[in-house]
């Protein structure tokens, strides 16, 4: 038995065709934490989650949930876990009530408990009015909400979620973010993968960065952002810049991007202090009337970019 909610040791997965998705992956997720699992497409995030949820078998290595080997005893390992993996297909011939009843019965919940929890979780994901309608008539966002309802049904201690807000509108994303935050407050363990760095920064306390099947960075969000270089500078000018002046600013070699934000302009650069100083010097020499030059605090996106290189998150 270990003290971790989720742990992998030397986890390796090689798919048919020789693709190495995971290479000796070691993860430790403590109880009661919310950990964001970040990485570019093809990094191995979904593969890791699928091994943890018994959807695929690893080539070698071990995966444990609450100290139980997922490969040897998946039935026991998954008792206190629920998950949302990729975009699962839904049984279109069932209603949400029927589908959730199935999963409640799989988990050995009593009939009364199933009915009560179905009402609660459907209200949580705003699908109460659709409880007895066929899933086949649902939109993408609705099926996503239903999948989240299924993950919440038996109030698991551990939630494993793969891109939970995919397919949801901004309000839906906010609702799910609030649900996850609520679960974190309740002391649940959340392990979620996402491309939406802003969402991860807001909900997760820790982050693991994965690339080519290996961990390339991990720590709390605060630790990682404090170490990362800020990659943007907000500059204000005496007068708003005309288009011609904006074009001159864009022409500065060290400036990677120019984003007018009303009363200021945000410049993207490589984050190094020398580059920052050089950009300030060029702006002053252009006679644009710089009134303030403020490097922004590093964001999770800055961390991601500095670790991954040119791969960027969606946000």
């Amino acid at each position: 038995m270990t003290g971790y909610a989720i742990e992998t040791k030397g986890l390796t997965k090689r798919y048919k065709g020789g693709i190495l998705a995971l290479k000796d992956l070691d993860l430790q997720i403590g109880h009661g934490t919310c950990v964001g699992f970040l990485g570019p497409n093809g990094a191995g995030k979904t593969t890791t989650i699928k091994v943890l949820t018994n959807l695929i078998a690893p080539t070698s290595g071990e995966a444990y949930i609450n100290g139980v080997d997922v490969v040897r005893d998946p039935k026991e390992a998954l008792r206190q876990v629920d998950s949302l993996v990729e975009v699962p297909g839904m049984p279109d011939y069932l209603s949400p009530h029927e589908m959730l009843s199935y999963f409640g019965k799989v988990r050995g919940m009593s009939t009364d408990a199933i009915h009560a929890r179905i009402t609660e979780v459907l209200a949580t994901v705003k699908l109460s009015d659709w409880e007895h309608k066929k899933i086949g008539s649902f939109s993408t966002g609705m099926t996503r909400r239903l999948a989240i309802a299924k993950a919440l049904l038996h109030d698991p201690d551990i939630l494993i979620m793969d891109e939970p807000v995919i397919g949801l509108d901004p309000k839906g994303m906010r609702d799910i973010r609030d649900i996850i935050k609520g679960k974190v407050k309740d002391g649940k363990t959340i392990f979620l993968s996402s491309h939406l760095l802003g969402e991860v920064a807001e909900t997760c306390t820790e982050v693991i960065l994965l690339e080519r099947g290996q961990v390339v960075g991990k720590g709390t969000v605060a630790e990682l952002t404090s170490k990362a270089l800020a990659r943007s500078i907000d500059v204000t000018f005496r007068h708003p810049l005309a288009d011609a002046d904006l074009a001159r600013v864009r022409g500065i070699d060290l400036v990677k991007g120019v984003d007018p934000l009303g009363d200021r302009v945000r410049l993207a650069f490589d984050g190094s202090p020398d580059s920052g100083a050089a950009i300030l010097s060029q702006l002053v020499s252009m006679g644009l009337g710089v009134t303030s030059f403020t490097p922004q605090a590093a964001t999770l996106e800055d961390v991601y970019v500095s670790v991954m290189g040119d791969e960027r998150g969606v946000n």
Binding site: K50, L55, P74, K75, E76, V85, M90, Y93
Partner: protein, 274 residues
Amino acid sequence: MMADIREDMAHTVLSVRYEILKHMRRTRLLIALSLAIVLPVLFYIIPRVANVSFASTADGFMSNILGFGSFLIIISAALFAGDAVSGEFESKTALLTLSTPQRRTSIFIGKYLAAMLAVFTIVTLYYLVGVFEVIGIYGVSKVPIVTMRSYLLALLYATAVLSLTYFFSSIIKGTMASTLLSFFGLIMILPIVSSLMMVAKVEPWFIVTYSAGLITNVFLQPGFGGGGGGGGGGPPDAFTSYSPQFTTGVEVMAAYAIVFFIIAIVLSVRRDAE
């Protein structure tokens, strides 16, 4: 241990229930039930309309109806088991069902049993309609005693066909491909192979569709099950037809039922939900 076994059985029963619900809510069950009723009824209606007499004996009448029984069994197996495994992975419902605290064997055995229940219902209905027609035409006392033996053989054949279909579903990725392979494999490919073997004067005793002949052979009088070899006389290069032997046929069907079921379950359980 006992609690674990009880839980596994409960999961299997749950899988059967929801799979049966799926069959009932889709048109497949309606199609199969309709065929099970319409096909034998046609054997009653057509002679009436054409103003010709029925078969001279109830055995002959039942044999005529049941000649299409094996086709109905294959169609039903393809409908209910053709995509039982492949469908879970293709539609990605496996991402929901396989990530739960239940053994995969419970899920896939449950699906198989549900398909078996559906196919057995179809076969039973087919025989019942035939028997009612015999009663209507020839009288209750003329219902062939061997009908029950034929029925049991039909159920055994259905199990063998189901296992083979389930095996195809477990190895093939796409639902369309697995269903069509099952259907055409059993309707066309295996019978063609049987015929070619007979042309080569080799009895195709190990081909399951050949064993299906037992279903109607029970109505042959006398010497049922005399089987292998023999056709009539004639020149040495005349086509030799064969007839399945009872014991061999039963053993072949049982072997298909058990072996392909086991292989299908093992492959389904080990399949990655990529």
